[in-house]
């Protein structure tokens, strides 16, 4: 997967469409998609948010938890849920090459958010794989 691909505009449009739908379906307040090395692929964030930083954080959260899982012999990491005083953060893999991070209000139904994001991540993984 290369950031500077030839058919980039169509690829980016497709990803933005999937991220928009993920936000609509889960009520997430923002989503960033990153390569596992933390470089930004696509995002749907407000202007005040730093998309590049969010991308690195998505990959770092999953990477750090994967290291813990490896040490404790717990297998692959499916998702990471962080429950904060003012909201919830979810990080999950989108196929073998990407990580996704999303956040939502503290009132959000975590189960529904996780289900919605997992479905979106699977679709995104298929798009990335077809690149």
């Amino acid at each position: 997967m290369a950031v500077l691909a030839k058919d980039y505009p169509a690829f980016k449009e497709r990803l933005h469409d999937l991220l928009d739908r993920a936000i609509l379906n889960t009520g997430s307040l923002g989503i960033a998609l990153a390569r596992l090395d933390g470089l930004l692929i696509a995002h749907r964030l407000g202007r005040a948010d730093d998309a590049r930083l969010a991308a690195v954080m998505a990959a770092s959260i999953l990477g750090a938890v994967a290291s813990v899982a490896l040490q404790l012999n717990q297998g692959d990491v499916n998702d990471v849920l962080v429950d904060c005083t003012r909201g919830k953060i979810v990080a999950l893999r989108a196929g073998p090459e990407a990580a996704m991070i999303a956040w939502c209000s503290s009132q959000a139904n975590v189960g529904l958010v996780l289900l919605g994001l997992r479905a979106s991540a699977n679709e995104i993984a298929r798009v990335l794989e077809a690149m």
Partner: protein
Amino acid sequence: MSLRTRFQEQLAQLVIGEDAVVRMDGRRMIVVSADFLTTILSAGEQVVGPAIGGIHYLAGERAGRLYGERARAEAPDATPEDIVVNIVASLEARGLGRLEVADLDVAAGTGMLRLQRSPYADTLSGRDRPACHSLMGLWAGLLGVVSGKDIAAEEVHCRAMGDPVCEIVAAPRRD
């Protein structure tokens, strides 16, 4: 001017105070081994996996922007191309290995930086992914300053992956 002369000129600018703080052009410097940098990368990789590359990229990008902005402030009449070439020459003379601006179009915000002996690639050989993320970020940050565009850089060849040289290409980010 030979590389050795340029290196010696740079060394001559180093000033060490009684407090054992080294400065060049008024800015604090430290002289560390290349292992210091590569160990940070490999130790970070053990903790956060490949994401350490993105952290290094961000750090490099900020450094590249800083170098570019500082150079522009110090030489306001210099062309963007001169700023890039001089910074790359300065990095080369500081021991980053032979660097070549293989392609540069400031107006378009594109460019290719070729590295013959990246310290990261030298140390971290036999990888399945590039190793020079901080230099990728540096190239993106520097081109970002001189072009005024939001630039993304990608290492398309890396000696750490068995390629003969490292090549980093940069182009405007297309959001």
